[in-house]
């Protein structure tokens, strides 16, 4: 392979690079030290002519490895887009001239920095391979939908509408889920005034008559394995029959379980049948079917009804839900309308603390209810008492500031949604061989003891890291990302509907479309052999040298996406379509056998090696900066754009994720005379900002032990610093590097210089 490589170096002299730097010298370095086969300068490399110059070399000279020394790798990406070519970028503009003062006394160190960046760019590209798709897969246009409620049915229909096939697995005997029990739904089209038909029957008939959709009721997922594009799923039916299917992606639409109102004895639930939950009221409304709604105890027509909002919700009391279920305000409004429609004189009072009816539909619906004379009282209900055939609702009227009560025939508790999800893989310590603090940390991060969560698995994945989607909070399998709400930690498996986040049926149907989009996309990417978000389009995937592997399993444990299983011989099995290409496995591997074609121990290690480390007496320290390419590296770029100075001694190497950082890079750099190492990753705690979820956390944990290594080397522990850096840290990020320069100045140069 190496023989086929032909290297071209290209140096841009535009944007002031030519004025500030000796580019002839850079060219010589690229050729002699960087071992480029050819090297050219251009006054504006990103121009059409500049790009054409490179393209000509690719076409005519057989150049397939290109080193561009110009602006940051984040700039002019579209211009320097050469398919099937390995490309490295030496950042001379933001990385050197824009972050160094243009003065005579700095000229030498600025040039030295540029020299090193060219050396590093050459070293990187020399060790890069051109990633090839493995070509093992074809497009599997079949999506598995787990759950046949409104979300699942809508997801299946969306999938079918896009020309894909869908299979629904529903554990109940019928499709429809909870919404099938609902009498009318909140309107989804203007005017948002009256409850509407739920459309569940229509959904069911559309699903049943769609030739692209297969439905299994009384069925569950007994086992699932594989990866996007080739999920192999065993579907067990109640009859004992087992079916096997192959799917491109999975949508989990397992919905919610109604909150158990038996936890609310203070509201007389269970003491009288006239206190019902919102879901139970739907049954009464269905039975009445437009006629008078009767109370369960004695069949009396309800003349006065009270709705207790947030029943068992928004509360830190034991057995209550700490969150708001989101759907209950509009649901109570809708249900109050049931009574008003049939009997406008019926007293309907909604007792709430914050009425949550957002958006245009929400607020319109609220006003519509008021127009129908539904009464809204800001009040905290303390107790419901059943006596003498009446219910007395005791509450504090927060507006009139008094403890008061009202009597009614029926009380409806606006109870919430409890997610119906499988066990959280990270809720308990992973496995015996895992280190204690790791299990402890995850448990602390994810545990929500108040909420009772189903322990029955939904997906029965045969993954090394557990059977189901990881939870976010309160048992919901939501994404942690604001910008990327469907990114779960199991590639190709997308959650939709109330198992993801509390929601009403309209939102759930929208949500189903979004999850269907991601599922289809995942199958397409799997077929292309490309990574999905956030490295969409990346063809590289982890490979390992089997003979070097010690089967330590660090990679299988640390992978934030549970992508890596173990094969029968206990070697890692990477499942490339499950992999997000963050490189955390590479960073985890103590024997350095894991690599990607274009990102490896060598592509970084050789850059570190390529830097010219002056001797101890030069007073020119070298500081290695390993910066996450997602946040820290852009922060440094923007700092440069803003004219922030960055220490002349620093040499910055972008990494895919701090999780991909191999300890060997650090020890090697210290051994070869670097004076300090600064590592910059993303925020790692509960509100983590790591694009790969746990990459930064894993790195921090590994690096917590780097002090021992330093001590063994007889080096000061201050020489290595690990930071959480955000993309907005345009002042702080340079400062952290400059601080290290100061530290080196104080403690002195490394004794390991040659």
């Amino acid at each position: 392979m190496a023989d086929d490589k032909k290297f071209g170096g290209y140096i841009c002299t535009g944007c002031g690079i030519g004025e500030r730097l000796d580019t002839d010298q850079l060219e010589q370095i690229a050729l002699r030290e960087g071992k480029m086969n050819l090297c050219r300068q251009h006054p504006m490399l990103c121009s059409a002519e500049g790009v054409q110059m490179i393209q000509d070399d690719i076409d005519n000279e057989g150049v397939n490895h290109v080193m561009i020394a110009a602006c940051s790798r984040r700039a002019k990406v579209e211009a320097f887009n050469f398919p099937r070519v390995a490309l490295s970028r030496a950042n001379l503009r933001e990385g050197v001239i824009w972050s160094r003062p243009d003065t005579e006394e700095n000229r030498e160190t600025t040039q030295e920095k540029a020299d090193d960046y060219v050396r590093m760019g050459c070293a990187e590209v020399r060790f890069m391979e051109i990633p090839e798709p493995s070509g093992e897969q074809e497009l599997n246009k079949h999506i598995l939908v787990v759950g046949g409620g409104v979300t699942g049915m809508q997801a299946a229909l969306e999938v079918a509408e896009a020309g894909y096939n869908a299979t629904i697995v529903e554990k109940a005997a019928q499709l429809g889920g909870h919404m099938a029990q609902v009498y009318r739904r909140v309107p989804t089209r203007s005017p948002y005034v009256d409850p509407q038909d739920t459309q569940v029957a229509d959904l069911v008939s559309r699903v049943m008559s769609n030739e692209r959709i297969t439905v299994y009721t009384n069925a569950r997922v007994a086992q699932s394995s594989g990866a996007p594009g080739r999920f192999s799923v065993e579907i067990a039916r109640e009859s004992g029959e087992t079916l096997n299917g192959s799917f491109g992606a999975i949508i989990q639409a397992s919905g919610f379980k109604p909150y158990d109102a038996n936890n609310l004895p203070e509201f007389a639930y269970g003491k009288t049948p006239d206190v019902v939950t919102n879901l139970e009221l739907e049954r009464l409304a269905r039975e009445a079917d437009g006629g008078p709604i009767k109370r369960p105890s004695d069949g009396k027509e309800v003349q006065a009804v009270a709705f207790v909002q947030c029943a068992g919700q928004r509360s830190d009391k034991e057995g209550h839900l700490p969150y708001c279920s989101g759907f209950c305000c509009t649901t109570s409004i809708k249900q109050a309308m049931y009574f008003k429609q049939q009997n406008p004189g019926c007293d309907t009072t909604v007792l709430f603390t914050d009425l949550r009816t957002p958006g245009a539909p929400g607020e319109d619906f609220y006003r519509a209810a008021q127009r129908k004379e539904v009464t809204f009282s800001k009040g905290e209900v303390s107790e419901v008492v059943s006596a003498d055939g009446e219910l007395r609702v005791k509450f504090k009227d927060l507006i009139l500031n008094e403890d008061t009560e009202m009597t009614c025939d029926l009380v409806v508790l606006a109870t919430g949604q409890v997610p119906n999800t499988g066990p959280d893989p990270y809720a308990a310590p992973l496995e015996a061989e895992d280190e204690e603090e790791e299990g402890g940390e995850t448990a602390g991060e994810e545990a929500t003891p108040q909420v009772s969560v189903s322990v029955e698995s939904i997906l029965n994945l045969d993954y090394r890291q557990g059977t189901d989607l990881p939870h976010l909070r309160h048992g919901f399998v939501d994404s942690h990302f604001i910008c990327f709400p469907y990114e779960t930690r199991r590639t190709g498996i997308y959650a939709a509907g109330p198992c993801r986040r509390p929601m009403d049926s309209a939102q759930a149907r929208d949500d189903a479309a979004g999850a269907a989009m991601k599922a289809i996309q995942a199958t397409v990417h799997a077929a292309w052999g490309q990574a999905v978000h956030p490295r969409a389009g990346d063809l590289s995937f982890p490979r390992f040298r089997k003979e070097g592997c010690t089967q330590c399993k660090r990679c299988t444990v640390e992978c934030p996406f549970g992508a890596i299983n173990e094969d029968e011989e206990r070697y890692p099995q990477f499942n490339e379509a499950r992999c997000r290409r963050c490189g955390t496995c590479m960073g985890a591997c103590p024997v350095r056998v894991i690599s990607f074609a274009n990102y490896s121990i060598d592509t970084v290690g050789q850059q570190i090696k390529a830097v010219d480390v002056p001797d101890e007496y030069s007073e020119k320290p070298r500081i290695l900066v390993l910066a996450c390419e997602n946040d820290a590296y852009p922060a440094l770029d923007m700092a440069a754009m803003a004219g922030e100075e960055i220490s002349p001694w620093s040499r910055v190497v972008p990494v895919r994720c701090l999780g991909s950082v191999s300890l060997s890079w650090i020890t090697d750099s210290l051994n070869s005379g670097y004076d300090g190492v600064v590592l910059m990753g993303c925020r790692k705690d509960d509100d983590y900002q790591c694009h790969f979820v746990r990459g930064s956390a894993m790195a921090h944990e590994r690096l917590s032990k780097v002090g021992d290594t330093l001590q063994q080397l007889n080096l000061e522990t201050e020489r290595v610093a690990v930071y959480e850096v955000a993309i907005t840290d345009t002042k702080r990020a340079p400062q952290l590097i400059n601080d290290m320069a100061k530290t080196v100045d104080e403690i002195g140069m490394s004794p390991f210089k040659f």
């Binding site: 089209r189 245009a360 800001k378 949500d511 923007m638 694009h691 907005t728």
Partner: protein, 428 residues
């Protein structure tokens, strides 16, 4: 002439904010040809002007970076900035869309070196900072701008400054004769993601936004909190630069109000909760925060954030729509008059700074759509079959927070993909 290849299998996305970018990228990453139009000279829309997101308090710049990287790397996505739709004709699978592109006066070979900016002297209100600062007549809208290309303000064209900018450019990237252009695109489906604009605070007369210096809007406060914003992240009040420690937030400023916007803008409660953390972070125990509200709509799992804010910022929550604001002429403090409705307490509270949690209204007024779409009373696009293959994404459909807008836009992308898949006959 801008070359745009667009066919019946192309998806057109109108609006390059977070929703439009999401819809465009999701479709493009599924292998569809996508043309993305953005009215501004750069992508990112309103979220590019936010400092932090609720509830994680993370930085929108982070998501913008990754989305822009996705955009840069995807050859199936074509982005046209300064572009607006002028007409839409046709039917699902076959629309002809008229597009007007306003002149940028800066060509693609701009390297963003900044020489033109240094050469010109004219200054204008910086719209990125909602006019809280000035920018030059040749400018980069912000450091993260994509495309990373300068823009000449049309107001300098024909002036000496324009010539200076042109002369300063070493790369001949400035084209003063740029007159924009009009294109017609043939596309199969359209995603309408035109987003929102802040409601005009001047119209809420009793709050004196137009006459009291220390009454500002939430979008302005957001810029102020941003370390790269007009005050360098210092929370100071406009009248005298005094530190704003005692800050009041007024909810439903324009929202839930038949005099202004009928709808609840959904984001304002959460945005205020987020902004209380800015004040608490800046001043610690010296922070004094009041939130005047009707209902705190920290819906579903945002409740956690509400609880956290109550605990950490010690903000006072007063159930009251503030009746009017007067200025204490002696010290410039806004004085809020109203009634705390929980138990009827009349107040006249003085604060250093007042932030109006301003409502969101659709960017495109109901009567200015270039195509007839089913809209609700509030001007949002309805999920209506009669809209054909024109699908709303994000805030064009309702007042949504970023997370919900992105969810919605992802679903909208699928709707468009379904149409072009049908056109391509991929059903078989």
């Amino acid at each position: 002439m801008t070359e745009v290849i667009a066919t019946n299998e192309t998806i057109l996305v109108v609006g390059g904010g977070i929703s439009g970018m999401t819809a465009a990228l999701e479709a493009a990453e599924t292998g569809k040809q996508v043309v993305l139009l953005e009215k501004r000279p750069y992508l990112g829309g309103r979220v590019s002007q936010l400092y932090k997101y609720f509830p994680k308090l993370c930085f929108p710049t982070c998501g913008l970076e990754i989305n822009q990287r996705r955009a840069k790397m995807n050859p199936a996505l074509r982005i046209l900035t300064l572009a607006e739709v002028t007409s839409v004709e046709g039917e699902p699978g076959n629309y002809r869309v008229g597009v007007h592109i306003s002149p940028r006066y800066v060509k693609e070979n701009c390297t963003a070196c900044g020489d033109c900016e240094r050469a010109v002297s004219s200054e204008f209100d910086d719209e990125f900072n909602y006019g809280l600062s000035k920018r030059k007549g040749a400018y980069l809208p912000h450091r993260m701008a994509h495309p990373l290309r300068y823009v000449l303000d049309p107001r300098i064209i024909g002036s000496e400054d324009a010539e200076k900018a042109k002369a300063a450019c070493k790369y001949d990237a400035i084209d003063l004769d740029d007159s924009g252009e009009d294109l017609t695109l043939n596309v199969g489906a359209v995603i309408w993601a035109t987003g929102w604009q802040p409601y005009d605070a001047n119209r809420i007369q009793p709050y004196g936004y137009d006459r009291i210096a220390n009454v500002i809007t939430s979008v302005e406060f957001e810029r102020m909190a941003d370390p790269s914003g007009p005050t360098g992240g210092r929370l100071i009040r406009p009248s005298d630069g005094k530190e704003a420690r005692n800050v009041a937030f007024i909810q439903c400023a324009g929202s839930r109000d038949h005099n202004h916007l009928l709808h609840c803008s959904r984001i304002c409660c959460m945005a205020t909760l987020k902004q209380t953390t800015y004040v608490a972070d800046a001043w610690g125990d010296d922070a004094d925060i009041s939130v005047y509200y009707i209902d705190i709509r920290a819906i579903d799992r945002f409740e956690d954030f509400y609880a956290k804010v109550r605990e950490t910022t010690r903000a006072r929550f007063i159930k009251s729509k503030v009746a009017k604001i007067e200025e204490n002429k002696a010290n410039g403090n806004p004085v809020l008059h109203g009634v705390d409705t929980e138990g009827y307490h009349r107040y006249a509270n003085e604060h250093d700074l007042v932030v109006l949690a301003i409502g969101m209204q659709p960017s495109v007024p109901s009567d200015q759509f270039p195509v007839k779409l089913a809209l609700n009373e509030e001007g949002f696009i309805e999920p209506a079959p009669e809209n054909g293959a024109i699908f709303a994404a994000g805030v064009a459909s309702d007042a949504l927070d970023v997370n919900r807008a992105v969810q919605h836009a992802t679903g909208a992308a699928l709707k468009a993909v379904q149409v072009v898949n049908r056109v391509a006959g991929q059903e078989a």
